[in-house]
Symmetry: C2
Subunit: 143 residues, 2 copies
DNA sequence: GTTTATGCAAATTCTTTGCAATACT
DNA sequence: AGTATTGCAAAGAATTTGCATAAAC
């Protein structure tokens, strides 16, 4: 279980050119605690000492520094998730996401790698997102 | 070029249990004209005789009837696109989308099929969306 | 005449920014 | 002092809903 401590987080931020502040530690740690994509609202509910706009700006900063990923699950809200690869420049820690249309929860499927995709000549790929929608196992057994 | 005429659209809607109205014909025809995902705003700009909330409700209806797909391109707005398979229940007309982070245009890549994905036991797949982000050929050559 | 569809207006939600105050170096 | 960060408030943008009118059956 690789729950980052603050020293680890500090060096991670610094190595990506992000100056360390208490709030940035908090936001990153909160993102790392979750093992799934979380929304700005969730983070704000969780970090009630920190203003939402500050969290938003922190997320934008971390995203620009390739420390976190941003994605959407089809519900219209942006979700954020820590990058797990050591060097996040190459987005090789991408994995699939599953959005349950019944309970509106988003799962990470890390068991299967994102397949290689081919694009026409001249197009440059920066990232690949795979979003599966359906009904999760909990909703199927309970529903 | 399979530009649906109104008779074709009518039977398509009816076969999916959607009652035909003039506005539904207009909305579906507009979606079919575009060969790419379009936003509610674009449709509203285009169909200036129709109210935006009516278009929204029509899109919701068509989506529920599996006549159109809904997707996001990472910009935060919902995009809609006609289903191309005859029987849209099985989403076998899914294709990849490419979002240019520079010009914010979304392309459809129909050349390569969506790869099969594996999900854990008990999860039911309804649809698979693949969103590639990067820089398109126009922006790369012009920029 | 009853049900359905539509337009208008406004509520809601989420994202983003301006600006003053605070903290840091 | 000067720069960067944060909080507060509010602007913007998109989605969604309530309700009255109009159309369809």
């Amino acid at each position: 279980m690789a729950s980052n401590n603050h020293a680890q987080i500090d060096s991670l931020l610094e190595s990506h050119g992000v100056k360390v502040t208490a709030i940035r530690q908090l936001v990153y740690a909160a993102l790392a605690r979750h093992r799934r994509p979380v929304s700005l609202r969730e983070l704000d509910d969780e970090l009630d000492t920190v203003d939402r706009s500050t969290i938003f700006r922190t997320l934008t900063l971390l995203h620009g520094a390739h420390l976190i990923h941003a994605l959407e699950d089809g519900s219209g809200v942006a979700l954020y998730e820590v990058c797990t690869s050591s060097d996040a420049e190459d987005d090789d820690d991408q994995h699939m996401h599953f959005y349950c249309t019944r309970c509106h929860r988003t799962y990470c499927f890390r068991t299967q790698p994102i397949p290689e995709v081919l694009v026409p000549e001249g197009f440059a790929i920066e990232s690949v997102n795979v979003l599966i929608k359906g009904v999760c196992v909990n909703c199927r057994t309970q529903g």
